[in-house]
């Protein structure tokens, strides 16, 4: 293919990225340097380092971390199990299926399930624990978020495990390694790239979650995503909202670089 036709094929992509990715980012960066009255200022960034925002940032990271860890703990064994069964494709489809359904719809479904007279509480009554306040707790927030993000964690891990040459496991066992050592020294290192992609796909969106925080956590959990939404829609402080957004964008790049696949050195 000569360079002219290549340029031609690239054009839609470049246009798209330019219009819908680069321009908005530049706009956000631009807005972040203005206060409510349209004066140029660094105050938005200074505010980011105040206690209120630092606490919000810390709690966002903490929840995103929790969500990622639980997703990983559930998705890794599940993916491993799926690769071992005969009906891989079917099971995989069943896992992915819920991610095709609108996020809000699922959130509302959980509102019903977790409500005072919902299915979850009915079950607890039957078991004898008695009804609990489930909605608007940290638990329900993390639970629903994990539920929503699991497919994004599972898919890359599944792909990595599926690509793993089973002869390598035989080789490790052959050289005297137990099942656990084989997992630690062979399976996990070789599927690390899948885990990293999964972590990226969960941690970054989890940082800026906002709908669920209101619906499921009843605004008890305020994440960076919620803060941005509030600033743009409620307080109309676009400058502050943009500053937080810029902070999030930088964080995303940092995470991408840290979890990115660099060429491995000699160990």
């Amino acid at each position: 293919m000569n360079s002219k036709t290549r340029l031609f094929y690239l054009l839609p992509y470049v246009l798209w990225i330019g219009l819908f990715v680069v321009t908005p980012i530049l706009l956000v960066v631009y807005y972040s340097f203005f206060d409510l009255h349209g004066n140029f200022t660094f105050a938005n960034y200074e505010k980011l380092f105040t206690f209120v925002y630092m606490k919000m940032i810390a709690s966002s990271f903490w929840y995103a971390f929790l969500i990622t860890v639980f997703c990983l703990l559930i998705a890794y064994p599940a993916a491993y199990f799926i690769t071992k069964t005969k009906y891989k494709q079917l099971l995989l489809l069943l896992v992915i299926l819920p991610s095709w359904i609108n996020l809000l719809l699922k959130a509302y479904a959980f509102l019903g399930i977790f409500s005072t007279y919902g299915a979850a509480n009915n079950f607890l009554e039957v078991v004898g624990i008695g009804a609990q306040q489930i909605l608007f707790t940290d638990f329900s927030f993390v639970f629903v978020s994990v539920y929503i993000f699991i497919p994004f964690m599972l898919l890359p891990i599944f792909n990595a495990l599926d690509k793993l040459n089973p002869a390598l496991i035989d080789a490790s066992r052959d050289l005297g390694a137990s099942a656990w050592t084989t997992f630690r020294k062979v399976v996990f290192p070789l599927t690390l790239s899948g885990v990293k992609s999964g972590v990226q796909a969960v941690f970054i969106p989890a940082l800026s979650l906002f709908m669920i925080t209101r619906l499921i956590a009843g605004n008890r959990v305020i994440t960076l995503g919620t803060a941005i939404e509030q600033h743009f829609l409620v307080t109309q402080d676009w400058g502050m909202g943009s500053a937080i957004a810029v902070f999030l964008i930088i964080t995303m790049f940092v995470i991408m670089i840290v979890t990115g696949t660099r060429k491995r050195g000699i160990q």
């Binding site: 035989d170 080789a171 066992r173 052959d174 070789l190 160990q267």
Partner: protein
Amino acid sequence: MEKEVIIRFDNVTKRYDSDTVVLDHVSFEIERGKFYTLLGPSGCGKTTILRLIAGFTEASEGDIYFNGKRINQVPANKRQVNTVFQDYALFPHLNVYENVAFGLRIKKVKQAEVDRRVKEALRFVNLSGYENREITEMSGGQRQRVAIARAIVNEPEVILLDEPLSALDLKLRTEMQYELRDLQKRLGITFIFVTHDQEEALAMSDEIFVLHEGRIEQSGTPTDIYDEPINRFVADFIGESNIVPGKMIKDFEVEFAGKVFECVDQGLNPNESVEVVIRPEDLEITSWDKGKIQVKVDSQLFRGVHYEMLCYDEAKNEWLVHSTKKAIVGEEIGLNFEPEAIHVMRLGETEEEFDKRLESYQEARHEQ
């Protein structure tokens, strides 16, 4: 030295799905310190036998013994066996050094000792200086040698080698054949070697098992198998051979190509139909009138050490001849051979029956 059985298969059958039989009631014994070769065409079950010994798969029926103990249920990591895999199975996330050191690290061998043994193993496979290379930076032949080093560095009781030299060029391959054989003798480790290269099998082994469709067709020393193949399959698979139909007139007399010849076989029924094997290198070309059989040269190839001629006799039997002398294509020539060069095979004779017949006429010879 007294013979000591280290591995024994007792009527082992392996099925993958409920109906496809991959190994069919296979029984054999492996003696400690010997070099064994499993030889057979693709898909005959060689790798399956190694996987059963290594413990990667379970026998559907039958028992496998190691040092006298039944090991059907023993997991792979508890077996005193190391494998050189057919597709190498090197760890792509570790460099050459760490690949070779893997087994030693599991056994928690001290670093100094690991270092010494890994270096030695790499020197053995001619890969000194490649310690820090990544596996992806190695060629196929180099990978194969890393795989060999990774197995021998552990000095197990038995090493299973699944076509370990297939990716090497002829020169390196011959060199490695000598070195492996040498190493095996030096360390006294039992080798079970898989190949479908019959020359390699003949050159290296103490004992060869010829496999065909999940059965052992014949086992024995390289000379036994080469000189006395038990059936058409073995004769054809081990070296090139001329196999023609014949009839055993009586002891020491066999008829083929329309004539009766003196031979050394006995113990068959009079006038029994047989197959006669003569190796191409046992046929000598002479003039038309001096030959025992008369053939016409159909084509000729120069093979380096010898000429290979394809000839036909009057009964349209094909005769392959290896000779250092050249013939002229289209010419009619005579072929000469010794009575010892004729090997008579009974149709459908099993290995046990064959051995029994051999024994019986050895006894007969003693009585004379």
